[in-house]
Subunit: 146 residues, 2 copies
DNA sequence: CTTAGTGCAAAACCTTTGCAACTCT
DNA sequence: AGAGTTGCAAAGGTTTTGCACTAAG
């Protein structure tokens, strides 16, 4: 959070209350992959008025600053999560095709693969994203009953 | 293509000319990840009139049938590519953050990872998608010149 | 004070849907 | 003939933008 204040001062960006509460919302919902609309309604419930357009602009800014990671789970809207130093490069997502729930898992096997591919392809790789699609335990169970 | 005709007859689906030319478009552009709008405009140029809504409906149908794979590269629209038997489970994408170009590469190291994760997480995994983000050779070169 | 940021409403997109006309089988 | 399909236009949903007003540095 202090690290975040620093990043702001370095750019020509202003540290407004809106920007702080948006980031705080992500810190309060560490593993939830919030969308713009969700952030907006969470803040509304806490009677922190903020324009939806501002939420969108803030989300984009925080992504540029490397504070948030923008991602897509195929449900028609962008979702975001905080990039904590710890799991920067090594957590991925399991997406259930039935209920849409997203679970995370840790893994770092991909780093080797990444450097190998970077060399072979002359691509300067900065990041990767791995998603597994399938059916979660609950949905598998529910399906058997039918 | 014949395989495709067979799949249609098995369902209660009709093999219309629109569906054929949409699929043909993908066969003619094997490594291009076309969007609905692009398919529509390609067909328009070849004076094959087709409604945009029909393109969308056909894309969805072909995805359900396992003929096309729907994917998202973060540019605000869905893109599709043919699933050929050969590379069903083992090709991934390098996405350039500057120019947006998408390159493919082959790899099958992930199958082991997939089964390991399936076991650990009780998730029944049916598919995965791996994307690498970074900078392509051309954009790296262009950047050095500035 | 100066420059950046906010809020609102409108606009811009992509995608889906209702319905009458149409076409494969 | 009958079921599924098409095209069009309208509606839906997410994200962006113009502009007058406000607030941070």
């Amino acid at each position: 959070m202090d690290d975040f204040r620093k990043k702001f001062r370095q750019g020509q960006y202003k540290l407004t209350s809106q920007r702080q509460i948006v980031l705080q919302t992500f810190l309060d919902h560490q593993d939830e992959h919030l969308s713009a609309e969700e952030v907006h309604s969470i803040l509304r419930q806490k009677s922190n008025e903020i324009g939806l357009a501002t939420v969108y602009r803030t989300l984009e800014l925080l992504s540029e600053l490397g504070v948030l990671q923008k991602m897509d789970f195929g449900d028609g809207r962008s979702r975001y999560e905080v990039i904590s130093d710890a799991d920067m490069h090594q957590h991925h997502h399991l997406i259930c095709l039935t209920c849409g729930k997203v679970r995370e898992f840790e893994d770092d096997l991909l780093d080797n693969l990444e450097t190998a591919i970077a060399r072979k392809s002359n691509f300067m790789i900065t990041d990767h994203q791995l998603k597994f699609y399938g059916y979660c335990q609950e949905c598998q169970a529910a399906n058997k009953k039918l």
